[in-house]
Symmetry: C2
């Protein structure tokens, strides 16, 4: 039977920060559709069709847990993707049909993002743990369906939420971090490089980034001073936002 | 036949500013479902089910034009509403079924907002022009379906976009406006009152709000100085945003 109305799905973009390599990462899983395994066409975000009886947000939490083992993560809905041609290839339609057992011509997807600590992620409970992997965000071009576009929107939403302190981006960092790590995170989220001295000058005004009386250990280079994030001060600093638009 | 997957719709929250009364307004239309015409249960936003072949954004533009006569408006998608019980009453299900000619148990809606100048709105081309009306945003409780919740989210999205200068909220004002009008608009969008002196002090720093050499005419009270909005200066002022998160 021909499809009469669009299916609805949820997709989750999970951001992590590789503190050692100082790189923003994204959690994806690998389908086996295309033979060319060098590209990204087999890579997609965790997601699923929404059943008739499920709430959207619940559905996103459920599929995230099933596919990645992540539980009780703060998922922020950021955009619905509804281009009728977002399933680009016949191979993808066939994959979706095998996967769901129904004929699928069109799916509108509601996308969510989440921030997690990579080192805390335990994929033990994932049904597809062998297919999961973290990739760097600058190498996520040409993914399955329109997922590279979804990633662009996720980054834009993250950036907005960070600017408005609607999200705690410091959750991505380890409890003790260096200013170099903080700067890499900043640059990845804001999508631009920043002069080191300038960055440190600005950071010195952020009351919620505090120096510890402690340095890195076991590094080959000169050990850097460690910092921590003060959540209470961060909450207080939010009051300055939401006041004006000049 | 029972519904197997959720229907998908688009809804548009159109904001206007009544410069004379200094009130933020929302464009709604009146269905005839409930007998009690004193409440808001018959009031809904312009919206429609998305056909199988239509892009979401195109669909929103199309329905907005058909129902309100508004064309080429900048519609910003802000949230998808997917609570399975968002159609609250049996009467509403029956209305939807009569309206669309199919059995409808559940609809997930993708919501958009737009800003327009009320005095420029010409509903001539609307199919339902007699049913359209502007209501003040503080009187929009208990609307049809979950539309009062949608309005709350629309206001939150508008506020975020205004803070980040992602939207030009000054489009809502007439070309020449008083600071009292600007303050009313500010207070409605930000959801809080502000001391007049404080407000004027802040506004004096906004390079893109400029005084004219002209006062109000034909008013009973002491005529106020008129101001205008300088779009070029506004665009330049955006550069200060997007730089930091302290």
């Amino acid at each position: 039977m021909a499809q009469l109305i669009p299916y609805l799905s949820v997709d989750c973009v999970v951001f992590g920060f590789d503190a050692e390599r100082q790189e923003l990462n994204i959690l994806v899983y690998e389908r086996e559709i295309f033979n060319d395994r060098s590209g990204n066409l087999n890579l997609k975000f965790p997601g699923s069709i929404v059943p008739m009886e499920d709430d959207l947000d619940d559905s996103a939490q459920k599929v995230l847990f099933e596919l990645t083992g992540l539980k009780n993560v703060c998922l922020k809905q950021f955009h619905a993707f509804g281009n009728p041609d977002r399933i680009k290839f016949d191979e993808e339609k066939k994959w979706a049909e095998r996967h769901y057992g129904v004929k699928i011509d069109r799916v509108v997807t509601i996308a969510y993002y989440a921030l997690i600590r990579i080192d805390k992620h335990n994929p033990e409970q994932s049904r597809i743990r062998d297919k999961l992997k973290w990739i760097t965000h600058d190498r996520a071009e040409n993914m399955a369906f329109d997922h590279s576009l979804i990633l662009e929107y996720a980054l834009a939403a993250l950036k907005k939420d960070v600017l408005l302190k609607d999200v705690n981006v410091f959750e991505l960092l380890p409890p003790k971090f260096t200013l170099a790590q903080l700067q890499s995170l900043y640059e990845a989220v804001m999508g631009k490089k920043m002069d080191k001295r300038n960055f440190r000058k600005k950071i010195s005004k952020a009351s919620y980034i505090k120096a510890l009386d402690e340095k890195q250990r076991g590094v080959a280079h000169k050990p850097a001073l460690l910092f921590y994030f003060d959540k209470d001060d961060f909450e207080r600093s939010k009051e300055d936002i939401n006041t004006f638009f000049v």
